[in-house]
């Protein structure tokens, strides 16, 4: 699971008000090379919740993203784009879990696939 996906997901358990961002419990992180596509990055940038991305990248052991949400002018800097690209698309949570910040319910991630299906008593 890439951090882009993480940035889009929340815990949708019935009754949970703040299911975002999901905490990350890491068992195994891998890196996969992805073609660098600046246009895609610029398109997706305004839709990213920055704080959640920074938090997620820290829990995956990468700490080079700026804490503060960057200005959109930063998108012209190749150095920044490369980092953004790396965090968003190349870091994978292969094994681990996403944890609901409110209830502590764990959504397992196996073989890179997050299992977001709810149990009967959570629907």
């Amino acid at each position: 699971m890439r951090l882009l996906t993480h940035n889009m997901l929340s815990s949708n358990i019935k009754g949970v008000a703040n299911g975002f961002p999901l905490l990350i419990e890491v068992e195994k992180v891998i890196e996969k090379q992805v073609d660098f596509n600046p246009d895609f990055l610029k398109n997706i940038f305004p839709k990213i919740e920055w704080q959640a991305l920074v938090q997620a990248s820290r829990s995956m052991g990468y700490s080079e993203l700026p804490e503060e949400s960057p200005e959109s002018s930063m998108l012209d800097s190749d150095d920044f784009l490369m980092k953004f690209h790396h965090v968003l698309l190349e870091l994978h949570l292969e094994e681990g879990a996403l944890v609901c910040p409110e209830t502590g319910r764990k959504f397992p991630v196996n073989k890179g696939i997050p299992n977001m299906l709810l149990h009967e008593d959570e629907v």
Binding site: L9, D35, F40, N43, M116, L118
Partner: protein, 473 residues
């Protein structure tokens, strides 16, 4: 500028929408003008289309799946005498650049509705000697390709009107579809297949309808083995998929036979996200909207595969209270699911698309239609969307599927979601008959023998449908 657009004689209903979508993709914002050669049936493979430039015509033809060729017509007629007269009166300054001595060329003789022997082809090429070709012939890699295309009215067939009347066209090829894609991606050589994997040709058509291009983000909420996303990835899109069945998305049939391996097989960019999620209760964070450029899918409509959603059948009916999972069994618990009927599935799909598509983004999906349903129920609609194309593919005498292409034209708001929900309930009431669980399946598979079936099906045998060639018989 008018071009002759010759189609492959298949998937008739999909041909024009594909060209129209691609024209839009390559920057033509106005509706295209079409016309037919004289006395040709709308199902004819020959159409004239008005496009702003040769470059656009070439881009469309090269990207398309169903365009056999796009031609600049130098002359046409219903006999070779008429053809000669037409070519002789074609402006010389428009011909000469393609005939000069420093170019190479090739003439192909093609036909529709008949076959020419090699001798006949040669005679026809020699008959064109009045065109002042100065260049050298190169059959393998010519600079310019010329086509002589002849059609015949091949008399009656099954009592249907003829598709094309005798007509001869001569023209210069502008571009043609890359049909090599289809054998390359055909399902029989696909590594990981499911029972409802999308045929490669149709998957490419869907990707074209969705205006897929590099850098766009495409989502399939019923991803299965990823057969639709493979086509989108071929055109350079970033892809994401979800499925409720974790075995399909996570495990596949082993480490080298899964959704990932299908992308690896063709050297395509891997999906940037695959997850297990329920389309009925999507896990997207609140506030997330307008992220996908296109949503392309083949929803489970219960004929070959039925949809599932969270919650047990009894639980949803309120017969039993939710099963509380004991804490020690939470890990690895398999939640129960219930059948997911088509009308609900489509409503959820439209709601998701309304929220998650960018403005102008496209939702492309298949919707089943019962053919004896003479009222032709309208297709599902949503206030955020405009239907731009619907192409029918007949699957059996009972039912067909229609590829719907919808464009997002309005922003998604809470009020709109509420209106759509009310509309959906209304729609559901009117269609309950066959959209509910299993009814579509029984309509498709019930025996046709009038002694066995209920009164409703008797109508079928009394009023047989014409032998269909296409939509406009």
């Amino acid at each position: 500028m008018w071009y002759l657009c010759v189609f492959f004689h298949r998937l008739l209903d999909y041909r024009k929408p594909e060209v129209e979508s691609l024209a839009y993709l390559f920057g033509v914002n106005d509706a295209l003008e079409w016309k037919l050669p004289k006395h040709h049936h709308p199902d004819s493979p020959f159409h004239f289309v008005n496009l702003p430039s040769e470059d656009i015509a070439r881009s469309i033809a090269n990207r398309s799946i169903l365009v056999k060729g796009m031609y600049e017509v130098w002359g046409e007629g219903s006999s070779y005498e008429e053809l000669e007269e037409a070519i002789r009166s074609y402006p010389e300054d428009q011909m000469l650049p393609y005939l000069s001595s420093d170019t190479t060329f090739k003439i192909t003789v093609d036909s529709f509705g008949k076959v020419f022997s090699f001798q006949e082809q040669n005679d026809r090429i020699k008959g064109l000697s009045y065109i002042p070709f100065k260049g050298r012939v190169n059959l393998k890699n010519p600079d310019h390709k010329f086509w002589l295309i002849e059609t015949d009215d091949y008399g009656v067939n099954n009592g249907l009107p003829p598709v094309a009347e005798r007509r001869i066209f001569f023209g210069r090829e502008i571009g043609a579809a890359d049909r090599k894609l289809i054998p390359t991606y055909q399902l029989k050589s696909r590594n990981y297949l499911g029972p409802t994997a999308m045929d490669a040709e149709v998957a490419f058509l869907m990707a074209n309808q969705a205006l897929v291009e590099p850098g766009k983000l495409v989502y399939d909420p019923f991803v299965g083995t990823g057969s639709i996303l493979v086509a989108a990835a071929h055109f350079g899109a970033m892809t994401m998929g979800a499925d409720i069945d974790i075995r399909v998305v996570r495990d596949g049939r082993g480490p080298d036979t899964n959704v990932w391996s299908n992308f690896k097989q063709y050297g395509l960019q891997m999906p940037i996200g695959l997850l297990r999620a329920d389309n009925n209760l999507p896990p997207w964070r609140p506030g997330l909207k307008e992220v996908f450029d296109a949503i392309i899918c083949d929803p489970p409509y219960g004929v070959r595969a039925g949809g599932r959603k969270s919650g047990g059948r009894k639980l949803l009916k309120g017969v039993v209270d939710p099963y509380t999972v004991p804490d020690d069994k939470r890990v690895g618990h398999i939640p129960s699911t219930a059948p997911y009927c088509l009308s609900e599935c489509v409503h959820d799909l439209l709601d998701l698309a309304g929220r998650m598509l960018v403005m102008g983004g496209r939702l492309v999906y298949f919707y089943p239609v019962l053919r004896e349903d003479s009222t032709r129920n309208p297709f599902p609609d949503h206030p955020c969307f405009k239907l731009v194309a619907s192409s029918e593919q007949i699957l059996s005498s009972r039912y067909s599927r229609v590829l719907l292409t919808m464009v997002k034209i309005g922003p998604y708001t809470e009020e709109i979601a509420e209106t759509a929900r009310r509309k959906h309930l209304e729609f559901r009431e009117n269609h309950l008959k066959w959209l509910e669980d299993g009814n579509l399946h029984s309509s498709v598979f019930a025996p046709a023998d009038p002694q066995v079936t209920a009164a409703g099906d008797l109508k079928l045998s009394k009023d047989p449908k014409p032998k269909y060639r296409g939509k406009y018989v």
